[in-house]
Symmetry: C3
Subunit: 206 residues, 3 copies
């Protein structure tokens, strides 16, 4: 195929990877694992979502021929390992994760559209790109998955992916669509972090 | 590739998808999740098995360019959300799931044979198509996986896939093979539901 | 693509598959599952790692057109089912698993290099080939994952894959590189088994 997938400016793309990788390595550190396991979790979390998206598209994983992705993940694992835990205690890691989520959902949606999939499928692939790395991290670590928590998370991913796909299909230039969609998703996830916004849970009599 | 995969009549194919999606959405509702999470579980369960089959075949996932699959899944999530839980309480959802299992195992096996894989591998891909969506649903939800329960489930999938592959390879017309195999698997799973048939478990002294 | 992936001598390749399949079937037997579930676990464990590697490479799974892999897995499941559990009680199964790990990491790395991926990515794919089958087995069975245990496991996989990639890229003949790398990884994992060597765990104040 001659598809040219869209690219984020490299610093954003690698920044999102680094943040997700950090979250994986920090979880492994909290579970008192070795450095090698920390690095493995950094990898699973950092490239998991994009790898599943690429497997669904039937193309080789994006990081196989990229020079920077894996070194960035290794660096994130080293940082998680050597910087004392208490430095991580504020909520800024959650903010960085929110940024990674917004960026990856946007990138996944735009890449799927470049492969000419149906609009709804592109939105789904965007959500998968943003959320699946964290799901894999949580499932393998044996902790409750992020998507089962009541705070808005998948919802922010869905808003990002849907607005990105909608704008691109309406003819808005791709870069502008991606920027607006990422901002919208980041704002929603940020609002959820600040005010603990939750969607109503299923609450019929059981 | 120029492979033309077999198709189920659309109402059966989408019916199987809808039933699996329903089972995912209902599990999420029982776990008191939000609507977005319900829809996400409907997606994982409805397309998980076929997606893994397609990734193993090295081809794009079947739902990327299909117009109906994702709307059906969204509709299933809405139905699960808005119809009171007690309506779901009979065992008819298990019967519908048995139908979905039989249909998807058949479809997966026939699609694999169309890609010219080895007979045993086609049977395995049929089982994967029928069972893996439910496995992913259970693993992410953190509940015991359906394949670990003693009732016949994987066994019904194996019967379906093996009889389908056997008949097609013996020259029985594809449509007839698929119909007979689906009926056989549905009958076995149904018998297991009615009489709680179980295979003997491993029971040597531990 | 015209890539000719490297092959292990068949008896080593199938031997590694058999050992991993055995470990999956024995886990299912310990959990008192039926024979069909045992065989399914044998399959997941025996081909899981290589299948994920192939999905990441964007190529069909290696076992789809192979005549021997699935019969070997079925045979492993039968052996696990019929040979009394106490015969398995020594540690020799762990030694066989160590051999499988070393062989599969080597094979995965060499196959990835044959597809011309970046060196670090080839190492990662080698580790994935060796470790992911066991991870899938543990996650679906609901037991703590092998990569979360303190003993050297992923580390032995990393040593194997890194030394294999390093030697091949330095021009050492492929067969020699693979043999030396597999021996090194097997020796490290074996040392970990004999002396319970562990890497230091993350131990900063929490």
């Amino acid at each position: 195929m001659e598809v040219i997938p869209p690219v984020l400016p490299a610093f954003l793309d690698l920044g999102g990877t680094a943040v997700f990788a950090l979250s994986g390595a920090l979880l492994a550190a909290r579970l008192k694992q070795t450095f090698v396991t920390c690095a493995f979790f950094a990898l699973l979390t950092g490239v998991g979502g994009g790898s599943v998206r690429d497997a669904l598209l039937g193309v080789p994983a994006f990081w196989l021929r990229d020079f920077w992705v894996l070194p960035v993940i290794l660096a994130a694992a080293l940082i998680a390992w050597f910087i004392p835990r208490k430095w991580w205690e504020g909520r800024w890691l959650e903010w960085a994760d929110a940024l990674g989520l917004a960026l990856f959902c946007t990138l996944g949606t735009a890449k799927a559209l470049a492969f000419d999939v149906a609009p709804l499928a592109a939105i789904v692939l965007g959500i998968v790109t943003g959320c699946v790395g964290g799901i894999i991290r949580d499932v393998i670590a044996g902790v409750p998955s992020i998507i089962m928590r009541p705070e808005l998370y998948v919802t922010a991913a869905a808003l990002t992916a849907a607005s990105c796909a909608g704008m691109i299909l309406l003819g808005v230039p791709q870069a502008l669509s991606m920027a607006v969609a990422a901002l919208a998703g980041f704002a929603l996830r940020g609002a959820a972090l600040i005010w603990s916004i939750e969607l109503p849970s299923y609450s019929r009599e059981v």
